[in-house]
Amino acid sequence: MRASLSHADLPDLQGVLVHGYGHLHTGCVLLCQVGTDRSKAARAHLGALGLTNVETARQAKGEAIEAARRKSFTNVAFTHTGLAALGVSPATLDSFPREFVEGMATDARGRLLGDVGPSHHDSWQWGGKTNPVHVALLLYAADASALAAHRAGVMGAAEAAGLRVVKMIETVTLPRRQEHFGFRDGIAQPVMKGSRDSSPYQGDEIAPGEILLGHQDEFGETSHVPGDNAFGRNGTYLVMRQLEQDVAGFWRFCRANAEDDADAIRLAAKMVGRWPSGAALARFPDKDPGPKEKVAHGVRAADDNAFQYSSDMAGARCPLGSHVRRSNPRDGFAQVPKDSLTMVARHRMIRRGRPYGQPLGGEAEPASYLKVLEDASRFGTDRGILFACFNASLERQFEFVQQQWCENPKLAGAVNGPDPLIGSQRAPCGPVGFTLQGKAGEPARRVLGIPRFVTVRGGAYLFLPSLRAVRGLGEG
């Protein structure tokens, strides 16, 4: 029986942990460094930040757009070097797990995560050895003008307190909640038990200790609390990565390996594991049923999240190596579906990523991408996703999924078949390929020579503390 989050803890959590502010279409992340000898001022400033808790975030969600427009929200997280720069005690700093202390930008971790070649941390725009980040401020607002006003206020106060903004990333919301390749995103989303009024899709409910520190996880173990409870409990780890997406490259590759445009979209869907509309291949293997709202009742069940893989263990419907299947294998990973669900529940993360940059060609739609491939370069390349996820164990959750499921070239018996969408496509063991499993007794089809479509431009492991801990930072 998994434990439930108590109502006493809810008001202590930063709002973004439970609500993604989906109704607020603009956002931005301010990545800051603490000025030398400014730790006191910076702490006082951060301790007094008007942060949102879960309650205010929840209320805001229900408000009319007019009211929402007047409100904007802030959440805050720190890297290990950031906590050190703010003067957190050595004993507390020492009590964090190794991966958080070392940070994302090490060579060993790079080999693990696939941050090699053009994604190596030496080339990062932020978060690397030469341009570390201490504090991340996550801002959300209803539209561009509301965001601008909110940001000006936050930045002014931050800089006065000795925080220097080293990088600012503005995020956008694309139509139909797509990411830049043209697929509806953020459909499967784990929810901590007890954190919401409405009950989520059953398979997405996880024990609070999978995300929050100092709570029971899926195996009934209490997740490790760094420092004392006032500092570490109700906190979580935030993984942030700026992933540049080569949209033109992706669609060019699909088109070159297909008979026509429709076939290119089909191949792309096989690589993703969902159709552009978000419909799961496990349920619709041959054709996109189209946007949910346009389909008559009964054709498509209530939710694109309500499906499993155990009836497609060979991958004839949804390829075993497709992106969504490998990052959340549901009940299809172990031979016994129930064992698979138990196992997968230990490797989930709450995702809060948002796209940045303008869509290729102006219109976010696979069909229109395919039309502008000839002269795609005039639309620039600065677009992607600001990946963000929360988990209680960086090693067991984010790193495990990224390395063992996504980067793993041998998943499902492949020779060299890493994640076709986000893999680093290293080729030490023969050509990189994506395998489309055939029917029983038929050989699989391999699509070879997949280039890297996603390049890491920056990243950091951050600690997102409880509201009590942030206040304590200002007092201490």
Partner: protein
Amino acid sequence: MPVRGGSENALASILDGIDRETKARMKGEKVGSPPLVDFERMVSIHYARWVVMPNLAGDGQILALHAWYDGPIGDENCKEGVARAAHLREWTRVARRGLDEVYSNCVGYPGASAGDEAIIMFLEKAHISAGALYFGSPGRSRDQVRAEAELADKCRTWLDARPIGSAPATAEEVRAAVKGASPPLGPFPPQQKNWFTLACATLLAGPPLVAAGIAAAPVVTVKEHFDQELEPIYSEAERRHVEETTRGENEFFQNALSNVVAVKPGPFRLLLLRVVLFVIDTLARNYFVDGKLGSIPSIHAAHWYLLDGGKRLAFVSNYDSSWESYLGDFIDQASSGLTAVWSNTKGYPRTTLLLWAGSRAGDRFKAWSHHIQVKTPVWYAAYPWLSINNVNNNTQIRRGMADPTLDPSAWMGVL
């Protein structure tokens, strides 16, 4: 072999040089001079390593050479002693200079001027038999594994070259288009579960084990209550230990894990451990012969050894993918077999009746495992980019290519 006091640094630098030469060759880099230890020329070796660990008293180092090797080609079913003698002869024939360089830093080495027989005697004297042994792809020589991989690649290359939109190829078409493997290969591995041995073992050892188990359960429960488990250590020293012992990981798809841990004191635990190792060894040799040890699908080879008259237990394994995923498998699958082994060693997360819980305490289990890990200064794998799944699939493909009567669904799907 005990390392001579004061020679630790000299030994470390020689091993480091051998490792660099070995890894460069494993990566296919061109290396000028002939290597000190040319693993490539030792055809009997699948995987090999040197491990450096503290001695029992903790005031010196022990150097251990560990290899997974085949018996002489053509005599696959020979006795272990015959296979080992041939293997050691290969060492002196191919890598005598390397042995001299390495072992001149160890106590009792006959010296560079001694004859090969004296060296073989020296190595043989230090030999320790495994308490339990598992191999994920039994019955195939190194060259057979490589040749099967080559054949499978040829088939895939032919399939890959077919135009977009082609109908799926049939088994006959693949057989006609891709001609057999070269060089000629040995016999197909038996790869069958040995039900006869298993049945005999169960009949003979089963009832007494069950009876003893029931009788011992209360004792075990009381002992478990007093077990000291290692709490995760969050310190700079521990982080450095982990960084040093894991430094070479993730350069290839396969990785190496070596650890050494003290067995809980007293004859009861040692006896228990010997029984568990016997059971695992029997199962591994006769039942887990198709690439999975229990439910864990990522182990190429694993060996457990009792050291120092049963005071310490060493574990040496070759596995696929990263340490985190390997240990993650142990935790996710809550493998009671592995828990049964390590529940008798110091600091292991608390167990329930020796088989349950234990590795489920993920953080403690990983911290414990990191804590007891020792350095593997030299590591060689003959096919570091093949997963154990690949190796076994490739054999399946070779069977399908050679045998038209085999059902295509048994091998076409893994192409």
